[in-house]
């Protein structure tokens, strides 16, 4: 509840009150969405108090987040260890992320999928319009995943169609050239796994081969109902981080 209170204070500062630079540092990130379908007459701080008239649809998204490290009021200034939970040392400030090249950045990321539209006439079911807000090192890592952009922007949430589109995209576009190279290796591995996992007991053996590696167990779980080569390739693409373990297992256990 304390977080909620802090968040509301932050929201008030971000959205409603001028003189934001006087606000105390806040340890929570707050994301606000204000949607109207209305006749609305208002004057907001963002517009400098100038009245604005809206007739119809209006949507405002705003983020209030801690951007500087260990500022006044941060939990990192707290005196007890419990209050400092989650805070790095002074040499490792909480709100600074560091990239692989040693660069520093703001720490928080917010990503969201927004509206849901039902397309009955086309027979396509629900369609999701993706929205996301991102910053910091986590955003860099999202961007490193060649399929993240597709997953965040694709229109049809149907998993199979989505992954199929992603794979086609990876094969035919220069942008996903790297993914295409990986795909070739994964297709060879998938061919081997398709034959191997169809044998009795092999799937269970893979699942339990390395209980500390969640990626391998998840991969086995996602292919258990569909051992087709196409599905195995799809799962290998999404579990690329566990590919080395899966390949090592296949080399050892599959002829």
């Amino acid at each position: 509840m304390r977080n909620l209170g802090r968040g509301l204070i932050a929201a008030s500062g971000a959205l409603l009150v001028s003189g934001c630079n006087n606000f105390e540092h806040n340890d929570t990130l707050l994301f606000g969405t204000d949607t109207k379908i209305a006749l609305d007459v208002s004057a907001s701080a963002a517009q400098g108090g100038t009245p604005a008239v809206t007739i119809g649809y209006k949507r405002v998204e705003a983020v209030w987040m801690p951007l500087y490290a260990n500022g006044q009021g941060s939990v990192c200034d707290a005196t007890t260890e419990q209050e400092r939970r989650g805070c790095g040392s002074t040499q490792d400030p909480k709100y600074v992320g560091e990239g692989s090249g040693g660069e520093q950045d703001a720490y928080s990321v917010f990503a969201s999928f927004g509206s849901k539209i039902r397309g009955e006439a086309a027979g396509n079911g629900d369609v999701g319009i993706a929205q996301f807000f991102a910053t910091g090192v986590a955003a860099q890592r999202l961007a490193d995943n060649p399929f993240a952009a597709l997953a965040l922007s694709v229109q049809h949430p149907s998993t199979g169609a989505m992954l199929g589109d992603a794979l086609k995209e990876a094969e035919i576009t220069r942008q996903y050239e790297l993914a295409g190279v990986r795909l070739t290796a994964q297709q060879q591995l998938a061919e081997k796994l398709e034959r191997c996992l169809a044998q009795e007991g092999k799937l269970a053996a893979l699942s339990s081969s390395n209980p500390d590696e969640e990626g391998v167990a998840l991969f086995a779980d996602f292919v258990k109902d569909d051992l087709s080569r196409e599905n195995i390739v799809r799962q290998l693409v999404f579990f690329a981080g566990a590919n080395a373990e899966i390949k090592a297992w296949a080399d050892e256990n599959c002829s």
Partner: protein
């Protein structure tokens, strides 16, 4: 509209009381559980079908938030605690599945996955 105006209403204050928002009509308020300080993500949602009136009680030269509206409005705020680095808001189970796979694939976002469910 008069009927709507009479059937429900609430008042929302900023922390310092400088801005008061009146809601008249059908108003739905979704608040986090009272004992939820340890929950990973908290959402506050105020949905209004009717009339809203924002009254800025500061001095005239500081006014910035007054206004009124008639129609539908959804004001949602998500409060994300210190340990959350990436938050996805998904519209369907299928999208949740895709995001879960993406997280598993990356291997860089940690091993904890928390979820909260919107009322649809």
């Amino acid at each position: 509209m008069l009927g709507l105006a009479l059937c429900a209403g609430c008042v929302q204050y900023t922390e310092d009381g400088s801005l008061v928002r009146h809601h008249l009509g059908y108003v739905k308020v979704i608040t986090p559980p009272q004992a939820a300080s340890d929950r990973p993500l908290q959402s506050l949602d105020i949905e209004t079908l009717g009339v809203w009136l924002d009254v800025d009680r500061r001095a005239p030269e500081q006014h910035a938030g007054s206004g009124f509206g008639l129609g539908w409005r959804d004001d949602r705020r998500d409060i994300v605690p210190i340990d959350c680095r990436v938050v996805f808001r998904v519209a369907s189970i299928e999208q949740l599945d895709i995001v879960a796979r993406m997280i598993a694939d990356s291997g860089t976002y940690g091993r904890s996955l928390c979820a909260t469910l919107d009322e649809d």
